[in-house]
Symmetry: C2
Subunit: 339 residues, 2 copies
DNA sequence: GGCCACACCGTAAACGTTTACAGTGCGAGG
DNA sequence: CCTCGCACTGTAAACGTTTACGGTGTGGCC
């Protein structure tokens, strides 16, 4: 692992100046003979351009960061899978930040933009605090936020419409004749938790159903915790006939607990999840789930960022990706829901 | 987004030299008064160290790359989830490369090491070609390969023991009384495909069962393709009573097709997968699966790389992570296999 | 009072590029 | 034969740091 060749090494071997070497390597007009000598020297030495020095001079790293709470979460994974190829095609590398849902870590990432190790950032914040907004206003590189950010924040913004999404699912459950529709939500001080909780209440209102606090249980966005929340709700309201779960993991937890409690799904209790992850199709019964277009949002975010990186200044944009409902067996049963 | 402050800006404002600024920022011994002035200036200006310039001088980027075929694959995802926190704790950023199982892309990544944009690389190659070995021998940064690499290749190597893994599963199926154990494999020119195919044959031999080509079907490592392969095998050998699938996705495809064909799992056909991904626990019936310790391998790989980054030269190491069998309903039924 | 040691600081070089600018040599045109 | 323009090339500065080295001022000691 001896020190690799630099343009100096090449210049010496080819008997030309480093400027000429650089010109050849960058395809600038040069005499044929010189091109030949430089190329030969570079080949023999196995030269590779030093990306760091390049970045220092050009002020471009050709790297983009993607920050979210947890790569393990299928919704984020779906975004990542779309972001990656878009960036790659444009010649950008992807730096991954898992913040473990720690707000301080998210702030760190924003602060880190000042270090200029990336040209831009795509972030999915779990909560948007004052600190976030301050850092965003002062950000030293283009940022795209997936999630909602107040009007006037100087960043591109890709939103899901979870309000409509929840409504789609609740309407669906209602149309199946369910009237005691419970909700299992994540923490209310998270962006999705708050939005989905409010949307549930609103959807009930639109249908003329009463909002009953006993039918709502807060847990966390994970399977085991979701299951626990369902168990509590079942104990309190054994007559519940449908469950609107704030994400698929919670819904899987619900299926676990309902099965253990001997309740049939969907006959006794219909279950709907959100995010339409791979798990929804893999579970049994397959899970009816609201797709909030995670993949689509990732793609749009990457494109917005690239546009800004390549195009320069422009007004911040807000794009809202519409939700749609994937109906499967957990609400309509095996025949109609398919395998 | 005006040009941010540099140590020059700070030096000017604090009335000291850039050397002093640098010393203060790096905590080198300095007079209290100077420290105060520099800190004050840095704070007022909102200074953040430029990582690129730093890297150029220090020849350290504090970045590590992780390259695999597809982030969407749960086995790679499991590795990623372990690698990420280990690197983060050590102050390294993670650069993600999805090679889409294209060999040329893998070579590109290895070649890219010469650009020195990362301090090291963890790679999961799908195939190990001559080109791979050449590039590995010439690699300009430490590399850890997850998968098997020939003796003498100058890189750390973390292996799964799929031979023992397949044997665990086949023995399990045999112990349940199954005797016509089919295998659904991925392409034989991939490392896992070849290893798992050979292990299957060997495991049968150990049990005194004949190797029957009709019971083997090659497809690809994905759900739909796996399903198609199972359909073909079923058509040829309707009497098959167990399926050893080369990964969980194939096994899910098998469950789809068996259900559609009206075969009960595990009563008529027992199904075992490999990799023990999240999907295995989510499916119905829950999938018996061989864990090859993906998470563990990721963790070990990250630790080996860090050790080399921090410790310097040493002999290449080979670590083999033992497999274990997760028994679930797809082989033993709901009662014993649990939910 | 002179000298030395020491603590602190500033100057400048270096990391590996890109690029503005100036220099060279050549052929063509007067 | 001189001059000019042109094509090409080389010198050097710059990107923002870190750090070796030498310089300065202070205090202590003889």
């Amino acid at each position: 692992m001896a020190d690799g060749p630099t343009i100096n090494t090449i210049a010496a071997r080819a008997g030309v100046s480093i400027a000429s070497v650089s010109r050849v390597l960058n395809g600038l007009p040069t005499r044929q003979e010189t091109v030949r000598k430089v190329m030969a020297a570079a080949d023999e030495l196995g030269y590779v351009r030093n990306a760091v020095a390049r970045s220092l001079k050009s002020r471009r790293t050709h790297q983009v960061a993607f920050a979210m709470a947890d790569v393990g979460n299928p919704a984020y994974l779906a975004m990542l899978r779309q972001i990656q190829p878009v960036l790659k095609a444009a010649g950008y590398r992807l730096v991954l930040h898992s913040t473990d849902a720690v707000v301080a870590d998210e702030i760190d990432v924003l602060h880190g933009l000042g270090e200029r190790y990336v040209d831009g950032l795509i972030m999915v914040p779990l909560r948007v605090t004052e600190s976030h907004l301050e850092m965003l206003a002062a950000a030293r590189a283009p940022v795209v936020i997936i999630g909602s950010v107040p009007e006037g924040t100087p960043v591109d913004n890709v939103r899901a419409d979870s309000r409509t999404g929840v409504k789609l699912a609740v309407d669906h459950l209602h149309s199946l004749g369910r009237r005691r529709i419970g909700m299992i939500n994540g923490p209310l001080d998270t962006v999705p938790g708050a939005a989905r909780g409010a949307a549930y209440r609103e959807a009930l209102g639109d249908l003329g159903l009463p909002y009953d606090e006993d039918l709502v249980q807060i847990g966390d966005f994970y399977r085991a915790e979701g299951g626990r929340a369902v168990a509590e709700l079942l104990a309190r309201r054994p007559d519940v006939d449908a469950l609107m779960c704030a994400n698929d993991l919670i819904a899987l937890g619900a299926l676990d607990v309902l099965r253990a409690a001997g309740r049939r799904v969907p006959d006794d209790v219909a279950v709907a999840g959100m995010d339409d992850t791979d798990l929804a199709a893999a579970s049994w019964p397959a899970l009816t789930s609201v797709s909030l277009g995670s993949a689509e949002r990732g793609k749009v975010a990457a494109e917005l960022l690239l546009d800004r990186l390549q195009g320069g200044e422009r007004e911040p944009r807000v794009v809202t990706v519409p939700p749609h409902l994937m109906v499967r067996a957990s609400t309509v049963g095996a025949e109609e829901g398919g395998a």
